[in-house]
Symmetry: C2
Subunit: 346 residues, 2 copies
């Protein structure tokens, strides 16, 4: 069985390849009758257009890339986080016959390296990048290269691109209000150790919360650790050995909570009693921890869908279906109370 190209179809039907192509691409100038015949033959032969030929001709690949960090420090995106977001994006793209591919990029290599390769080789038409840094060279690079893209996460490097980001300030604010309402005054903040932008945003919200509650900001209470179990363990160790020990801590990542629980257990202390903990993103993990972790809910499905649609809105060829324009939106998160935060122990 010879490879079925558009030419085989044309030969078989006794018409020209041009007509076949037009029929398959829903062009208006083709007889409905012949279109029907073409489509029938296509499914009959199991024909699918060769993407390389198509890409070469029209300079577009129908593929969109999603760059995710595969760092070993677990900085934010673990498997089920990005897999779920991914599924939602894919669902949006499938409507337009767009393929979505994930491009893992390890944290210890030049973040631009992959980008340059993808962009210059014309492998993807557009990109989604995550884990944006405070100053992110990828943004200016993509803007210069005129590649449509959206970022999951704000950045201080400006650009005309759309972005979506979680409401870190809001999260920090409500967490602070909640803790203060329970009687806490010394509240530590566990930030990521890299320069990912969400760390700065959380810090902003934390400070705002302090200010609103008229509590003085103490730099010693701002700690940094890897966003992993190990990081949480070390962070807890640091907290527990502080002279004027804080009574509560707000963590940037739910994995840190696990390490913190462990360290407290080693010291014979109980989370929620001896030290209150509020995590960040809710995951299946959170409510199965002992005690259940107070944290913030987020629909990954909705987030992914918004990501996909917002990106398409900025690509001329698809913009008509998504009249929202270029989206720059902060995504709200809702508090899910657990048992990990209580009144401070006197």
């Amino acid at each position: 069985m010879a490879k079925t190209g558009i030419r085989q179809l044309a030969d078989h039907l006794g018409i020209s390849i041009g007509t076949v192509s037009r029929a398959l691409n829903d062009r208006p100038d083709v007889n409905p009758e012949t279109r029907k015949r073409v489509l029938a033959a296509a499914t009959d032969f199991g024909y699918v257009p060769n993407q390389s030929g198509r890409s070469l001709r029209q300079g577009t690949t129908n593929t969109i890339g999603f760059i995710v960090e595969s760092g070993t420090d677990g900085s934010g995106s673990n498997d089920n986080f990005f897999l779920e977001v991914f599924g939602a994006i894919q669902h949006v793209f499938a409507r337009h016959n767009l393929d979505l591919v994930v491009l893992p990029c390890s944290t210890d290599e030049d973040p631009l390296h992959h980008l340059q390769r993808m962009v210059s080789r014309r492998i993807v038409d557009a990109l989604i990048i995550s884990a944006t840094r405070r100053k992110d060279p990828r943004i200016s690079f993509l803007a210069d290269a005129h590649i449509p893209f959206i970022t999951l996460g704000r950045s201080s490097t400006p650009g005309p691109h759309p972005w979506l980001d979680l409401d870190f300030e809001g999260v920090a604010n409500t967490a602070m209000d909640r803790l203060v309402a329970k009687g806490h005054r010394r509240i530590a903040l566990g930030l990521p150790s890299n320069d990912i932008n969400l760390g700065f945003l959380l810090l902003d919200g934390y400070k705002a919360g302090l200010e609103r509650q008229e509590i003085a900001f103490d730099p010693a209470l701002v700690l940094r650790a890897a966003s992993s179990e190990q990081g949480g363990y070390q962070l807890a160790h640091e907290v527990l050995s502080m002279g004027n020990r804080p009574t509560a801590v707000l963590l940037v990542h739910e994995l840190m909570a696990i390490g913190l629980y462990r360290r407290m257990n080693d010291a014979g202390l109980e989370p929620g009693k001896d030290l209150s903990v509020i995590g960040f993103r809710e995951s299946p993990l959170s409510r199965f921890l002992i005690p259940a972790l107070t944290c913030f809910k987020l629909s990954l499905r909705d987030l992914g869908q918004a990501l996909g649609e917002s990106l398409l809105a900025t690509i001329p060829a698809y913009a008509e279906h998504y009249p929202q324009g270029t989206v720059r939106r902060v995504w709200p998160m809702e508090l899910v109370p657990g048992d990990s935060d209580g009144p401070p122990r006197m």
Copy 2:
């Protein structure tokens, strides 16, 4: 600045495009002198070959796909299982200028759908598929289509393809030996609820272990649940309400341990004392759980590297660098003792 194709380079250097192409592709029949000039001009102009053109001509895309399941039942891992394996594979492929793309496939759609699309559109040259089923239609499909591929996980559908798989039988065997040595006789087995092949393999090892220890097999002790926290919770519930309650349980997934811990805690029971637990794959999580989970270690980096190299070994164009032939290997795992398994409580 006009797009720099191979033609621009040729014009600028005053030579033909054929020579330029040969120079860039390290063909032997080109003057070392001109090659140097071509390479210089290429980096000068920032030239990178257009992948579509190249693919169209030589019928190969220099892209390899990795299909991973993005089920919503949380059957993935909570840490960077895939991300870490990707990193290692990518590292191998980078040596040959191959791109790795990840193609998540949700569990509730036809698993062949993506495959057909990728294969017929000639988007990838080869594939890595994971989570192989007992009977896996993808295997025969790919074999029929003559697409090189490797599976992470054995299957009972035969095929000439290479595979890598974890040593589930071995794991079950040593777990059983260990538990029996501690005095356990009634040992439950927590299997995944779908028909993924590892469930059958674990069961085989479990039965072999029983037989070697001369313990009768009791079908009531084989339980099935989702590979998630929720699944572990339900499984624990089932175990605790059994008439003749088992004293130990072997779990297929570390996330299940979390749910199980939780359920035991709710019942005022302590893992490792009231019920011994052995998990499967070690992850950062395992040793931060309370008590630390006894489980089996695995180097994801090595596994990924072996996956990549074994796949390349079966692709004619790259086989020369990997003389290992088609690999079918069971990957050993090493027990990491924790505090979750002790002697049975009388």
